[in-house]
Symmetry: C2
Subunit: 209 residues, 2 copies
């Protein structure tokens, strides 16, 4: 099992109406792999261009800097995460069923998309200020969705939680950290891990199982 | 509230019987801060020496390379973590009381020692092979302690857990990820967070509270 191809993150694929040129996808993919392996600061635009089979000059046609590449990766990765959280939180069933789905999807996403996950979660400090503000707002929206779902469960008598914000933090933290430790050699598939984490989180929230 | 000074990690302080020279502590402190801020690969021995107020030549008297500094930080950080886990797991009380203490101490450690925590958890891939083997063994010992304590609780009827290894992973993962997100601006003190995480973990393990 390999990590998710970066192109899966971008809604418009090559050939779509507002698709990026294929070269831009190659650059994004090369940037994700380089940042994940060596860190943002130790990666040069030349490293990225070379990995994408281009010259540095060709890179600048698409992105003015490596920070611009990081910003697009981070914005897109966070937007996709928010979208899956919203889809699960707004789906069918009671708060417990929706929380289970949310944790399952969030876990699978971070296991399968661990290379992108490492970049978007561990290189936040390297984002230019304006891009950081956009990403911070997306992160806050994710936390708000999780918090609101826990509150709904508490109000409905499905969950028993003392500190809702701390519990929401624990739920997202468990999922994010999957991108740090999950590897091809992990004994569980992303889906198995997702189901087990869904179960553990529901217990943590005091749901009767 | 600031991050733990690095000297607190090393059992022999300056002046002790087998103490390192004060210059070595300054180098370790400078290396932790540089690695945490810019990543291992983007940090040069010159950066570390300069931050410690020394010449590169003076650094080499104490450490042959920046990898040797990383290795000492990682070994010592992991050994200290294992020591606190063993102390909690082997302490007084039933499995639930000891697990609560373990999670509290592990959480406080990663909140207060977050700068060291980021280096030892996110720069594992940069360790030389022999040092990696030592650190991997320490990490395995930490996981075994947590697993054994959960098994004891299950056997004693205090915990209800379906997959002990997944639950052990979740317990350590929650604590490790604290070093990623905890900051001086966090609304909870390390001790408050530790108590709340202790409560959440006991619920997750099916303990009756």
């Amino acid at each position: 099992m390999t990590s998710t191809p970066i192109a899966d993150l971008w809604p418009a694929r090559p050939g779509g109406a507002d698709a990026r040129p294929e070269a831009a996808y190659r650059l994004l993919q090369a940037a994700v792999e380089s940042f994940a392996e060596r860190g943002f600061h130790a990666t040069t635009t030349r490293d990225i261009a070379t990995a994408a089979g281009m010259s540095p000059a060709a890179l600048y046609i698409h992105y003015p800097s490596k920070a611009a590449l990081l910003a697009e990766i981070s914005r897109t990765g966070h937007a996709a995460t928010l979208a899956l959280v919203r889809a699960a939180a707004g789906g069918a069933g009671d708060a417990a069923a929706r929380m289970r789905r949310l944790v399952e999807d969030f876990t699978v996403w971070h296991a399968r998309g661990r290379t992108v996950g490492r970049v978007v979660n561990y290189e936040l400090h390297a984002l230019p200020e304006d891009d950081y503000a956009v990403v911070a707002a997306l992160r806050l929206d994710i936390e708000r969705e999780v918090t609101a779902l826990i509150e709904e469960g508490v109000t409905g008598g499905l969950f028993v939680v003392q500190e809702v914000r701390t519990a929401a933090r624990a739920v997202t933290s468990l999922g994010i950290d999957v991108s740090r430790w999950y590897t091809d050699r992990s004994s569980e598939t992303p889906e198995e891990l997702g189901r087990r984490y869904g179960e553990l989180v529901l217990r943590m929230l005091g749901a009767r199982l």
